[in-house]
Symmetry: C2
Subunit: 384 residues, 2 copies
């Protein structure tokens, strides 16, 4: 049986569509991975995540190692069995969360020592421990452990972190290869760093390619630099990564970010936006995001997004969802999250189809024009 | 088409099983009505409430008149369409919540003036307004507006409230009968008051019967008097109500309360316990309630209740639900609520079947022995 293969069925410019084949199932690309931080895509049942169109979800190493604990998940049969999701799972390495969430963090060549944000207990994440945790979880796509520094860091600090990340990439790869049965069915991705700097991005890519990975992520973006800067970086960074391997843009993003990145050759995405927005009252539509708390929806009999085939839109009105969201009802979060995940997956499907028929340029232009026009004409408060 | 009929298919002692037939569907009795306070059975989709076995749900007049507002619900097509529940809905009269939740309450013969607990705006509930609100919601079973006083009130205050409730029962009935098309498809129940006093319960029942209702509720119980006192009151109060009409014990209760009340001739129940407990980590099982937050479940691979056919038990382990509840995840509330509602509905089905075959006594004894034995032997903290 195939461990990991990536086949491209059609290209359009530098964009491509195809599928990653793994033992737990195929991942159609370009793919959006809903985030299941704590072994649950928040407010969704696994079958609803699948019905929305997801082929793969993302789990967070940092959160899961702290609660319920990687060894515990392993004793319970692995993350898939634990949370009732049979298809592929990608786990991040914990490198991002350990810098953004934990406290009293100390970085050495060995790894990162930190205090849990939950209870202050001290833990260590190294390339070896990160891969071990991901293996204990039973992850299908493992991410290398990397070092992140704030985008405001001096160039020298950026360079040191990028170079250390290459050394950690090699240690991650070596630990992955010691995984025995797990290594025979899972895959491992490297993560390109280098902030917005072309020369550092090139050095990072060359270092990772020298190690050799099943796929390559573009890391260190979508951390506050703005869409224009991010796309400008993608314009040169993507081409540095092997064209025959999946390219994954971590932590992205808004629907228009995704369209722009697919046009530039990205194959995989993850982001908390559709789920988090679902809990704060923001719904995504082809005409841009809308805030369901807005009083103008109080007696609106239309669904969240007219024409959307998702169960939330088929059954319920904006008036009802508005009432639920305003009242802080759990069902409001359930319905909004369901719609948002369906919106994202419908967008990915439309992108795949547009590439398949060689119409990505016109699809993207049309989508972006409509999506952004509302944002330009209506100054509506939205929460991120 | 039948507006409202109650047919008894079997009796066992004073207990009975049968069905209420209404235009929106049959209600198998004894029936448990999940509470949908704010136009949602919290954390559940309507189809999940139905799949759990519910024939009817309860809506709260007080909450709905304040948010989203009865006139607004009417403009949106009524409560059934608003919340996506096509089967019967019973609405309470607001009499209980207006005394327990609102502020600056002033009671006169006309009705109750109060300030909303949401925003302090002043509102009035009278028999006429309560029935009007319930009609605007499109309720199938309307409850009369009654006056509640604390159980610690002096006997004279209890008597005055009981007697006023009879006068309000007549005004409620008259307003209901002025309802035109609504009165042709809906039903109205009276509410017996009189605290724990036999003579007052008798006077209340006689007053209500003189007005004439489709069904009769036992009110003013399950308000802190304890199970023994409640059952002692039921022992004489139920027989005062017409045997050919449904008898509804409002706000009850724990599974063992329900079994004891069915044995005494009650046909209908409502209670927030299965839903509220589902959000606080308490699961109901045939062996008594368990607190899923308890550390002993952290690696327990059994379902919440072994043998339970509900989707939560079929798919997920106690270990997973424990993790979700401890992590404050919405999915934890969803799964726990689903199990609890399924448990309650399975209990009602078992009670109906036991009455049908004349085995209620042995079923009840067996259920209560098993349900209570665990509570006796394990001092487990449960939240109510």
């Amino acid at each position: 049986m195939t461990r990991f293969s990536f086949s491209i069925s059609a290209t359009d410019g530098v964009a491509r569509t195809g599928a990653i084949t793994m033992r737990r199932g195929d991942i159609r690309t370009p793919a959006f991975m809903p985030v299941g931080t704590a072994a649950t895509v928040k407010a969704m049942r696994p079958e609803e995540v699948r019905a929305a169109g997801a082929d793969i979800i993302l789990g967070n190493t940092y959160h899961l190692m702290l609660r319920p604990g990687a060894e515990r998940v392993a004793r319970l049969g692995g993350l898939h069995q634990f949370m009732g999701w049979e298809r592929p799972i990608l786990t991040d390495s914990g490198g991002y969360q350990v810098m953004s969430l934990s406290e009293l963090t100390k970085v050495t060549e060995e790894g990162v020592s930190f205090a849990s944000h939950l209870d202050g207990t001290r833990h260590m994440l190294s390339p070896e421990r990160s891969i071990e945790v991901q293996r204990l979880l039973g992850s299908d796509i493992i991410m290398q452990f990397d070092q992140l520094v704030p985008t405001t860091s001096m160039r020298e600090a950026q360079r040191e972190a990028m170079e250390r990340s290459i050394r950690w990439a090699r240690r991650s790869r070596e630990e992955f290869d010691r995984g025995g049965e797990h290594a025979e069915r899972a895959a491992i991705f490297g993560i390109q760093q280098g902030a917005l700097d072309r020369e550092m991005r090139q050095a990072s890519a060359e270092g990772l390619i020298d190690v050799g990975f099943d796929g390559y992520a573009v890391g260190g973006l979508a951390v506050g630099e703005g869409q224009e800067a991010m796309l400008g970086c993608l314009d040169f960074a993507i081409d540095m990564l092997p064209g025959d391997k999946p390219r994954y843009l971590m932590g992205v993003g808004k629907p228009d970010d995704i369209v722009e990145a697919v046009v530039r050759g990205i194959d995989m995405f993850d982001c908390v936006l559709p789920t988090r927005s679902g809990r704060t009252g923001q719904a995504f539509t082809a005409d841009g995001p809308i805030n369901m708390r807005n009083a103008r929806f109080a007696e609106d009999q239309e669904p969240i997004e007219p024409g959307c085939p998702c169960p939330a839109c088929v059954t319920f009105s904006r008036a009802y969802v508005h009432h639920l969201v305003r009242s802080g009802e759990i069902l409001g979060a359930m319905l909004m999250t369901q719609h948002n995940l369906c919106f994202y997956q419908r967008l990915m499907k439309a992108l795949r189809e547009a590439i398949g028929v060689g119409q990505l340029g016109s699809f993207a232009a049309s989508f972006l024009e409509r999506y952004r026009s509302r944002a330009r004409t209506i100054a509506e408060p939205v929460s991120g």
